[in-house]
């Protein structure tokens, strides 16, 4: 078993609205081993970003972490003071965001913004910090780093801006980088470059990465372990090969079936029928029940628990237990 860098145990992040409680992240447990890339995949609103923001404590009112532990090398982040949390953010964990267009302050030169990230955590004089920034710019593949240092964000292309964001995340040599859909706003060729860069950085620096995406292709290409989320819960987890080759949960199967293969174009694209249920009014049984092709009677009444299939492959479904029962 690998040494764990980040362990999330039974995390519950809720939105406390006037109309009621919305469980955006409901009892999620997740582990990121040292030096590995772990993916969270799921459709919009399934709680992927909320999980990441809970780790960073960036949830916005009325959302907050209601329960659970977030352990970074054994230290519970939810119990730290505001000052200690600030130290963790950026220095131990950093984050890159979906929209490189809006994640940089339009009125500050990009070099200065990255330099600010260092000066914020380390005592260093400005010239030294600038040197470090240029070094990181080079590391993330920004050509002519000295000139780019003096650029404003609008003078750079989307791909370059995302590289600047990655540089900003890398500059303090964090142990964990959380990438929240880092390539969603970029076109496909740039996407490939950025993903390759993130993978390279993880391999060369020993940094771990928590990659959030709705794109199964990205996840398959990048990750060592994968968590599939649905309606605030982890429904299937396992290492990337097991999960993609032998998906067990009907939702994962559905997701994989809806990928288009260019060599065999079907008449109609395969979809999962229905929509994600409203988190405020979750059904009594399994949240996926109404859309599931293999739903059984018990799915409507009881919530399924996690079922271990061995080798770290875990699913939240009644099917394996049913099958075992049928065998006997």
């Amino acid at each position: 078993m690998d040494e764990m860098l980040l362990e999330i145990k039974h995390l519950k992040s809720y939105f406390f609205t006037r109309k009621g409680i919305s469980p955006a992240v409901d009892d999620v447990s997740l582990q990121v081993p040292k030096g590995k890339i772990v993916g969270i995949v799921g459709e919009s609103g399934c709680g992927k970003s909320m999980t990441a923001k809970s780790v960073m404590d960036l949830l916005k009112y009325p959302g907050r972490v209601a329960d659970g532990e977030i352990l970074l090398e054994g230290r519970d982040l939810t119990k730290l003071s505001e000052k200690e949390k600030r130290k963790v953010r950026g220095e131990d964990i950093s984050m890159i965001f979906q929209e490189p267009m809006t994640s940089l302050n339009p009125v500050v030169k990009v070099g200065k913004q990255v330099r600010e990230a260092i000066l914020n955590h380390q005592k260093m004089d400005k010239a030294e910090a600038k040197k470090r920034v240029i070094e990181v710019f080079r590391q993330v593949g920004i050509s002519e780093p000295e000139k780019r240092y003096e650029c404003y964000p609008h003078e750079l292309s989307g791909g370059l801006r995302q590289r600047v964001m990655i540089a900003m995340a890398m500059v303090c040599r964090p142990k964990l980088m959380i990438a929240d859909e880092p390539t969603t706003a970029l076109d496909v060729t740039i996407e490939a470059q950025i993903l390759k860069l993130i993978k390279n950085l993880c391999d060369t620096t020993g940094m771990s990465c928590l990659l959030i995406s709705h794109n199964l292709g990205v996840i398959a290409q990048m990750c060592d372990y994968v968590y599939v989320m649905y309606a605030g819960k982890v429904v299937e987890q396992g290492d990337v090969f097991t999960l993609f080759d032998h998906p067990q949960h009907p939702y994962t199967k559905g997701l994989l079936a809806s990928i288009i293969h260019l060599d065999e174009l079907p008449e109609r694209l395969s979809t999962i029928p229905g929509v994600v249920p409203n988190l405020m009014h979750l059904p009594e049984g399994c949240a996926f029940c109404s859309r599931c092709s293999e739903a059984m009677e018990c799915c409507k009444i009881k919530k399924p628990e996690l079922h271990d299939l061995g080798d770290g492959h875990v699913i939240r479904c009644f099917l394996p237990a049913e099958r075992e029962a049928a065998h006997e």
């Binding site: 009125v107 003096e150 750079l156």
Partner: protein, 303 residues
């Protein structure tokens, strides 16, 4: 979508310019404004011109602002008195030059003071939110719910006559508007991804306000400044008219307009000359503000 293409395009151009080693400094921006917006440059010169007149007033005229010449009361503009004389035979040009001192000072100093107060309170209010926000904004509501002239009068009566009292009165009555605008800007900026990114880097709230919120408020501040300076000049005129602002025999443009009101039919220059001066300065500030905003705001760059 079209706008976006356009932005991409200019971004590419700028990237190209950056590659060629042409970075855009403050001086470059001013040069660009000079090339693109002649009106703003002209306005800047008008303001500069009036500032110079105010500073050099004693050198430019042989009279003093309180010299009376009762034999030539209300005389029309002539070689001796370029802009005529008033009801006590005082030279209008001289009083205009000395009045510029008061009017410009009253326009600029309280506005700067009110902006400092307004920006500080507005940013705190918008960023911190909650009860702090509520307290500051209710305070602003109280200030705004009084007719500002009435409030200024109360303050003037409490503090007594004098130019410093005018400064204080005008600053106290006009910070609330600034605070409201800056608060709403801060509310928007607080939710931007770069503030979130900064927070994810562990940047302190104070630094975020200073680095990320304040600079993005500057374009609005410039516009506010150019609107508040004229309104402060006008408020001073009103106060002077009511007899609690600048006192005779001192001079201010508002005072001159109001004193000349009685003689509008016989000696129209008494009111018209200072009115024209007020109008020129007010317009100049507005045009300059527009021009500055166009070049200083990165969002509007090159559009």
């Amino acid at each position: 979508m079209k706008k976006r293409e356009h932005l991409e395009n200019t971004a590419e151009q700028e990237a190209l310019a950056a590659q060629l080693g042409e970075s855009d400094t403050f001086i470059d921006k001013m040069k660009r404004m000079a090339a693109d917006n002649k009106l703003a440059v002209f306005s800047a010169f008008v303001i500069l011109f009036f500032l110079l007149l105010a500073v050099c007033a004693p050198l430019l005229t042989p009279y003093s602002f309180e010299d009376q010449d009762l034999l030539s009361r209300l005389s029309a503009p002539s070689a001796k008195h370029l802009l005529g004389t008033d009801e006590l035979g005082r030279d209008v040009l001289t009083r205009l030059l000395y009045g510029a001192r008061v009017s410009l000072a009253v326009g600029i100093i309280p506005t700067i003071a009110s902006m400092v107060i307004g920006v500080l309170l507005g940013m705190i209010s918008g960023y911190v939110g909650g009860i702090v926000d509520a307290v500051i904004m209710r305070l602003a509501d109280v200030v705004l719910s009084f007719p500002s002239l009435l409030l200024a009068m109360v303050i003037m009566y409490t503090l007594g006559d004098g130019i410093t009292s005018i400064f204080i009165a005008l600053a106290i009555t006009s910070w609330a508007g600034v605070a409201r605008v800056i608060r709403s800007e801060t509310l928007t900026l607080r939710e931007t991804e770069y503030v979130e990114a900064a927070r994810s880097m562990g940047v302190k709230d104070f630094t975020i306000i200073l680095r990320h919120v304040f600079p993005n408020c500057i374009p609005s501040l410039i516009v506010l400044f150019t609107l508040d300076v004229p309104s402060a000049i006008l408020s001073e005129s009103a106060l002077s008219f009511l007899g609690i602002g600048v006192q005779l025999p001192n001079s201010s443009w508002g005072l001159m307009v109001n004193m000349g009101r009685t003689y509008l039919y016989n000696a129209p220059w008494l009111s018209l000359v200072p009115s024209a001066a007020i109008m020129l300065v007010v317009l100049a500030f507005n045009f300059l503000g527009d021009g500055l905003r166009d070049v200083l705001d990165p969002h509007l760059k090159n559009s």
